[in-house]
Amino acid sequence: MRYLLLIGGDGSAEATSEEICGADETQAWLADLERRGMLRGGDLLRPPGEASTVRVRDGEVLIVDGPYAETKEQIGGFNLIDCADHDEAVEIASRHPAARFGMIEVRPVWEP
């Protein structure tokens, strides 16, 4: 099954997303998934302050500065993985370094 791992923190962490992603531990985590053939993609995201949120209402395009959800926790990056089941996805997520100070949402992909 495929799962999207949304890697988040509250933005106040000492390390930036870039530093976290560049860390040896994160690189090792990625390399391990790659080696096991489980990585389907992923990337690092620019900070939420650079996001725009778009809606169309009555045919009019509305743009709001900022992210989709006004919460303290924000997504700093994501990975799409393919693994056996929920427990394996949780196990993989728990080994991401950001899990220790931020949090990781494990979201199953809608399978037909």
Binding site: M1, Y3, A84, D85, H86, D87, A89, V90, P108, W110, E111
Partner: protein, 414 residues
């Protein structure tokens, strides 16, 4: 229909429902279909057993019947390749008692662990356990938890949907996850027990039956996981509490504290069994919070009189419990035990330290405990003030009646 057959089917329902559903989920992968086919099998049993006699192995008969039913239904509904594959999978699925640990023998354990998976909301774990393992209807579960039936139905649907779509595996967790997962299962069973235990005489019968249901499931679990001491610890704890149920309320339905309970109304056989189960757990040499709590319950349950209670032992056990699960409530209980073992002054010192910490602020049992200790030290004015404080914080009528009575005694003798 003879009453014999009805009784036999009712007994089979109690003993085999969980097993039949568990196996059907494994072979079909479909929770709703599994439940429906299990229901059909029990309905058919009423008819067939009356005609052909009760089968030698009712559980096997019911499982086979339910499986055949599932195959028929899937065949009839076949619309695409996916369903055909499901039918093929079912026909291939092994029903034997294989040693690989994938067979019928482990189905109920699989079901328990999946129902109590930590990725499901806690209330859904409880509901799912009652529905699929214990065979309670959605209406009964809704009544037991005082929520409208559609709310409960929705909760069950959401949980099953998450299991399916999030890919929560139907299995007994591997060894490295087992301690944590077993903890989740025991938490669900203990909640069921306490919900039943807290129910008073006027409560719905379904609610009252939750304690017995929790004990039944814990017995199954203890049989399936004989090497897990905490499973037996919880079973022992529940047996020992349950044994005292007839002494807990007086004729007016008022709570009777342990000290004043009529011990002849306790269930001696259940106490003996609880102690035996606890001893077996302790022999495994891996103590845990449930075993320690059961040991405390055993101290109370085996004391011939309230005065004969071994409070020193209980105080030691609370100290052990506080090490395993540090909590101010455990510490308060330890203070009570110390107050009984070493005198009220020693207990009061512990309570005052807790009060100074402020972590139990607003918890009525803190001033209530303090009041009792002060009363025993003849510091009646302070005791009365503490009883008044506790009265303001108490949440149930039963507690308020108890505290009012105590306050009246204190002020009378002041």
């Amino acid at each position: 229909m003879t009453p014999d057959i009805t009784a036999a089917v009712a007994a089979a329902f109690r003993d085999e429902w969980g097993q039949v559903v568990a196996t059907l989920i494994r072979v079909t992968g479909d929770w709703d279909l599994a439940e429906e086919c299990a229901q059909d099998a029990f309905a058919l049993a009423l008819e067939r057993w009356a005609r052909d006699g009760i089968p030698r192995r009712p559980g096997a008969w019911l499982t086979t019947t339910a499986r055949n039913r599932a195959t028929d239904r899937l065949r009839r509904e076949v619309v695409g390749a996916a369903k055909l594959r499901e039918v093929a999978r079912m026909e291939l699925a092994d029903d034997g008692d294989d040693d690989a640990g994938s067979g019928v023998r482990d189905d109920r354990l699989r079901l328990i662990f999946t129902c109590c998976h930590p990725a499901l909301p806690f209330d859904a774990r409880v509901a799912l356990t009652l529905r699929t393992l214990a065979g309670l209807t959605t209406a009964e579960i809704a009544r037991a938890f005082l929520v409208p039936e559609p709310t409960m139905a929705q909760r069950l649907v959401r949980a099953k949907r998450k299991i399916q779509h999030a890919g929560i595996p139907y299995r007994v967790p591997p060894a490295h996850l087992l301690p944590e997962r077993t903890g989740s299962v025991l938490g669900v069973l203990y909640l069921l027990f306490n919900e039943g235990y807290a129910a008073t005489a006027g409560a719905d019968l379904v609610r009252l039956s939750l304690s017995a249901e929790a004990i039944r499931l814990a017995r199954v679990l203890a049989r399936l996981m004989p090497d897990e001491p905490e499973v037996r610890g919880l079973l022992a704890l529940m047996l020992l509490h349950h044994a005292r149920r007839d002494g807990r309320l007086d004729d007016n339905g008022d709570l009777v504290t342990l000290e004043y309970q009529d011990r002849s109304r306790w269930d001696a056989a259940a106490i003996a069994e609880g102690v035996e189960v606890l001893d077996a757990a302790l022999r495994l040499g891996r103590p845990g919070a449930y075993q320690v709590q059961a040991a405390i319950a055993a101290c109370h349950a085996t004391a011939a009189t309230a005065a004969g209670t071994d409070w020193s032992e209980i105080a030691l056990l609370y100290r052990r419990l506080a090490q395993l699960v540090p909590s101010p409530v455990v510490e308060l209980n330890r203070a009570v035990a110390v107050g009984m073992a070493d005198g009220p002054a020693a207990g009061l010192a512990l309570v005052d330290r807790l009060a100074a910490d402020g972590v139990l602020a607003g918890y009525h049992l803190l001033p209530a405990t303090r009041a009792d200790l002060l009363r025993r030290l003849d510091r009646t004015h302070e005791a009365a003030a503490a009883y008044r404080e506790a009265l303001e914080l108490a949440t149930t009528d039963t507690e308020r009646r108890y505290l009012t009575r105590r306050l009246a005694e204190t002020t009378t003798f002041a």
